[in-house]
């Protein structure tokens, strides 16, 4: 009898131990993109901070592929013990489910969303030669020349693309979408005047705006950006309710125990509030998100998913 009890205790020991003393081994933060992009960089920043506060190494693992789906799926289907985290983003949670014909994971059911890390607005920028000094003039120009204006984006189904589609739908205009591999070549073509406008995220567009190589007309969020306070929002300019940001955060597998999720959330928020980390995120164009708790994040994801499912369907964008 005693031996049975001992055996039972030994068997339960490790699980009890891990549950009580999380984290007791290194964590793994999967960045589902190739090394070097903004999500990867913020993952490394976060990992460095979490390592200090959690006392365990946090290793960033790049798992690129399929617009981020592979990496997210890895965590969604992986062990729900709180040692595997993933950088989930608007693409993998809200857009890809309708963009790709089939997704191996369900963004709401298979994942538990912990913290929203970054929210970056997009900016409507036009080439300097375009005779439109504000949004009103742009809409008029687009209506005058249907199908003559080209708008660029970082890829099919990117936030830039979908913002453009939303713009077209709300203003009833027809502009041609020109996809690029990343927003840098699109920006280059815009500076040269080969394409007319694009919705680029603030961080990558800011240098060109500041150096006056392109002209910014509006931001895509409801609130004005603190980086360009004189820039009106699309909502102010007449497209009521236009609110699109590029965002990303940290998620874990759905069945991760609640105390682990809470502790993770608290630690990440602590890191985000640290002044140096906040600064660095700000330098990427992000304003501190108002959404803080996992529940807020989860409902945010749900509403974004709904918005973009609708938008993708109506715009006809697809990644096969």
């Amino acid at each position: 009898m005693l031996r049975l009890l001992l055996l039972a205790a030994l068997a339960a020991g490790p699980t009890l131990a891990t549950a009580q003393v999380w984290p007791s081994k290194p964590l793994r933060l999967v960045a589902p993109y190739a090394a070097g992009g903004p999500i990867d960089i913020s993952a490394r920043l976060l990992a460095a901070k979490l390592q200090d506060s959690l006392g365990q190494p946090v290793v960033v693992e790049n798992r690129p592929g399929a617009g981020g789906n592979i990496g997210v799926d890895l965590i969604a289907k992986g062990p729900a013990d709180g040692y595997s985290l993933v950088m989930s983003a608007i693409a993998t949670l809200a857009i890809n489910p309708s963009l790709y014909p089939s997704l191996p994971y369900d963004p709401l059911k298979d994942l538990r969303h912990v913290t929203l890390l970054v929210q970056v607005p997009n900016v409507l920028i036009v080439t300097n030669d375009l005779p439109a000094k504000n949004v009103r003039e742009l809409i008029a120009l687009a209506k005058q020349r249907p199908g003559k204006l080209d708008f660029g984006s970082g890829s099919n189904g990117s936030t830039g693309h979908l913002a453009g589609e939303m713009f077209k739908m709300m203003t009833g205009t027809y502009m041609v979408h020109i996809p690029y591999k990343g927003s840098a070549p699109a920006l280059a073509d815009m500076m040269a005047g080969r394409i007319h406008l694009m919705f680029d995220n603030l961080a990558s567009a800011l240098p060109s705006i500041r150096s006056e190589k392109v002209r910014a007309l509006a931001t895509t969020t409801l609130k004005r950006s603190s980086f360009l306070p004189e820039l009106p929002t699309l909502d102010e300019a007449g497209l009521k309710g236009f609110d699109m940001t590029t965002w990303w955060g940290v998620s874990v597998a759905a069945k991760t125990p609640q105390p682990v999720v809470d502790r993770l959330s608290a630690e990440i928020l602590k890191a985000m509030d640290a002044p140096d980390f906040k600064d660095r995120l700000r330098n990427m164009g992000s304003e501190a998100p108002a959404i803080r708790t996992p529940d807020q994040f989860a409902s945010f994801v749900a509403s974004e998913l709904k918005t973009y499912t609708e938008l993708v369907k109506r715009s006809g964008a697809k990644a096969d």
């Binding site: 490790p14 081994k25 290194p26 793994r28 190494p57 290793v59 960033v60």
Partner: protein, 171 residues
């Protein structure tokens, strides 16, 4: 019809095969085959027009060019003298391929140290001389070196210890 150049003969067939492969998968199986089989065997992509090219356009054109060049090479092989195909040495081919596959698929379960040792042993076996002691020493040295340089130095997220060891002393 005598094959004057064995190399060109097989090269030609290789090119034709690749060309047809790409055309087939870009265009999809033609209607009549689908009807015989019952379902769409291979779906293709849109061809588009030459002014608005679809995703299938380039592959089909290129595949066609490749197949055509393959046919020219085939013709050449009958007309012109050319070298023979040197013998295939299967032993190094198989062992090298297997060793890299073994490494890749054993890395997560066995960890870097053991997977490296497996790779060294299998690839050394594919060579000409295989002395157990030599290979053993070399594999240990290289495993340690790899851990130091790649995991410690370059911080690559490779597991060092096998899965069944809960907490790894090296990280």
């Amino acid at each position: 019809m005598k094959i004057k150049s064995q190399q060109d003969w097989w090269a030609g067939w290789m090119f034709v095969a690749f060309g047809v492969f790409f055309i087939l998968f870009a265009l999809g199986t033609p209607e009549f085959i689908d009807r015989i089989v019952g379902t769409k065997l291979i779906g293709g992509y849109q061809m588009g027009s030459s002014v608005r090219m679809g995703p299938a356009y380039f592959p089909v054109v290129l595949g066609g060019m490749l197949a055509a060049l393959g046919l020219i090479v085939l013709l050449d092989s009958i007309v012109e003298e050319g070298p023979e195909v040197a013998t295939f040495h299967f032993r190094p081919l198989i062992f090298i391929a297997i060793s890299s596959l073994a490494f890749a698929y054993l890395l997560k379960p066995l960890g870097l140290v053991l997977a490296s040792i497996v790779l060294i042993f299998i690839s050394a076996y594919g060579g000409h001389e295989f002395k157990w002691k030599e290979v053993a020493i070399m594999s240990v040295v290289l495993a340690v070196f790899s851990v130091l340089v790649f995991v410690k130095g370059l911080a690559l997220p490779f597991p060092v210890c096998p899965d069944f060891i809960e907490v790894c002393p090296i990280r």
